[in-house]
Symmetry: C2
Subunit: 196 residues, 2 copies
Amino acid sequence: MPGTRARRSDAEVVAAVRAAVVEELAEVGLGRLTMDGIGQRAGIAKTSLYRRWDSPQAILLDALQAGFPQEQPTPAPTDDLRSDLIEALRLMIAWLTTPVARATGAILAERARYPELAEAVYTQVFEPKGGRFTGTVLRHYAAAGRIDPDRLTPVVLDIGEALVLKYTLDSGELPDEQTLADIVDQAVLPAADRPH
Amino acid sequence: MPGTRARRSDAEVVAAVRAAVVEELAEVGLGRLTMDGIGQRAGIAKTSLYRRWDSPQAILLDALQAGFPQEQPTPAPTDDLRSDLIEALRLMIAWLTTPVARATGAILAERARYPELAEAVYTQVFEPKGGRFTGTVLRHYAAAGRIDPDRLTPVVLDIGEALVLKYTLDSGELPDEQTLADIVDQAVLPAADRPH
């Protein structure tokens, strides 16, 4: 009954809908995501949902975008490339433990069936936040003249993320601090920062 | 009826059983793999299966082991580290297109439910063949004094494989020749072979 509970703010409604779409995805799968299901789980009328989003997939992308972290290079003058790279990988690991990351993984695993949605994860979620963890940091130090911008190829921008993912797939666990430092010292820095 | 078809050699029987277990896995999933199902698909009595293997999982591991390639460093005196690394990644890509690789991926994706089987993939399939594509090659050149063995950490041995996997996950396609060369030139060699 309307009025039986306190009216939620816009921000609360949006947060509830974003949480609902991620839970709904985990429960019913991509193929059965509906405005009805999401609305019911969030306690919101379908007509209200349509005021802001035009499809279940739009809600899902909005939730993934909102839940994806933004890495920040340390502001000068405390510049520290190595620490900033390790911190960027820490951010990735923190994200990997969230329901939003599992939802992202579920979409990419079904890329063959939903190619446009998978593509949208890259263009609307990953790329606006820098494309790759370590990417924002590396480009910042290249712009500052600290590393050679020519070294920042797609392969080099991908090294940190690739090794974290591979470690996670192989071990079933997230890399610890020492492994993050090893990835930065033994793979990212030699490729991005070796003498030239 | 016995005798209605030509008797197969031992090697033919083994090949048929290995192919059958991979097809059966793709069709019914890990949880419903049985000696009956495999025997039926291979056209072999269950009692004959038990003569060689003691479980469906043993058959599966045998098939994955038989289908996993073995990388080879070029024999001296045509030593060429860069070419051998690229060739090792080509082997990985050729393997990734096989039904055996998809079966391996299916097991690792269900690691949480079948931890012992996933562990056995590493100890019985990957490790006997060198643990990582590029690993055999890198260790060969370290033993020959061409690169510093101290550089061959777990992270460095994983760089090539991690970047191939990441590229494949991101693009839904296998890396082409240029990408393999970039991975070797921009990531593996700087980490394994930079001046010291």
